[in-house]
Symmetry: C2
């Protein structure tokens, strides 16, 4: 297996953290998203949706979409379990993963895309719309703080893929979208400190 | 089990089609999204993210996010299989489901939200941004047509959750976001005719 990766983008980081938590070593090839190398005819033949990461399996097939790749790896390497041990637990972890992904992570991505110089030549930017997405990110930080409450992890009492998505989303929201983490959000800060101190955070 | 549903919204329709394809009968309660009944304190106590659909399990727990609910139902009622029989097949079906969901369905939702009168009082609208999202929907129709090619279904040779998401996304793109299906897209038209003629399409 080989991972097509880009070190500075958030979705590839999700997969790298997942792989590190599983204790796996998988070869990686860098594809420069910033200069559009993911959209060459050669790359589009492998992943026609054009994003990163994707993987090349040993039979030459290509699998894309971060969470789909994680699910494949979870099947091959069930321990440590990161996506649920039975269908009920899988469903609740998926609920949390999706809430973070669709409500926080996607808003951080839109905030970045509509306000960053990096996207000036790539999309029609609406900076005022980007500003509303920053507000959404700030509101989602508050929401997540309330949802974490006294729980150690996003989906309950152990580290799961929902923590990986939230860790990447929060870091991207702060660093790329420019939304500070309000120190009054003590549950979020405690959780963020905890997940950021795991060795996988550096992946 | 009970489903909290709203007949006129696309995510609840995804779940209804899934339930119909499984041959299940599950009681439903209508919650009027249009007048914000999903955001009353009573409803937010059940689903703090505020969306629909969500389900109440027999033990009183609430599970939200359409695909997470589908995964739970798939575990309880494995046949007909709609999400993959092993982790490899699950991963490829999830790849297709996510491509349609993140690239087409989400764009149709943004197009609708930023141009419809229904959202005037609910969000700060950017109609010009909504117009770019309509273009994205039209481009995604073309992309999907090319990806379907001669395949009978989105993820390959049988009907899966990826077809459900695509069916709901295409119908929502046409009817709510106002993006016509170009009749030149013959693969998309053939596939759409096929999924629309299944009894579940009326769910």
């Amino acid at each position: 297996m080989k991972i097509y990766d880009f070190a500075f983008a958030p979705n590839p980081r999700r997969l790298r953290i997942f792989v590190a938590e599983k204790g796996l070593k998988i070869p990686m090839e860098q594809v420069d998203l910033a200069t559009g190398k993911n959209r060459t005819p050669e790359m589009l033949a492998k992943n026609p949706a054009g994003g990163l990461p994707f993987v090349e399996l040993d039979d030459g097939t290509h699998l894309a979409e971060s969470v789909a790749i994680c699910r494949y790896l979870e099947g091959l390497h069930p321990e440590p379990n990161l996506m649920g041990k039975d269908s009920r637990e899988q469903a609740f972890i998926e609920m949390w993963n999706r809430r973070v992904e669709l409500n926080l992570f996607a808003a951080a991505a839109r905030a970045f895309q509509h306000t960053s110089d990096m996207f000036k030549s790539r999309i029609k930017q609406f900076p005022e719309y980007g500003a509303t997405q920053r507000e959404t990110v700030a509101n989602q930080f508050k929401w997540l703080d309330a949802q974490i409450g006294n729980k150690p992890y996003i989906a309950g009492d152990r580290f799961t893929i929902a923590d990986i998505t939230a860790e990447v989303a929060v870091d991207f929201g702060v660093q790329a979208a420019g939304v500070p983490m309000d120190p009054a959000l003590k549950n979020l800060a405690r959780w963020h400190q905890s997940v950021s101190s795991r060795p996988s955070a550096k992946a």
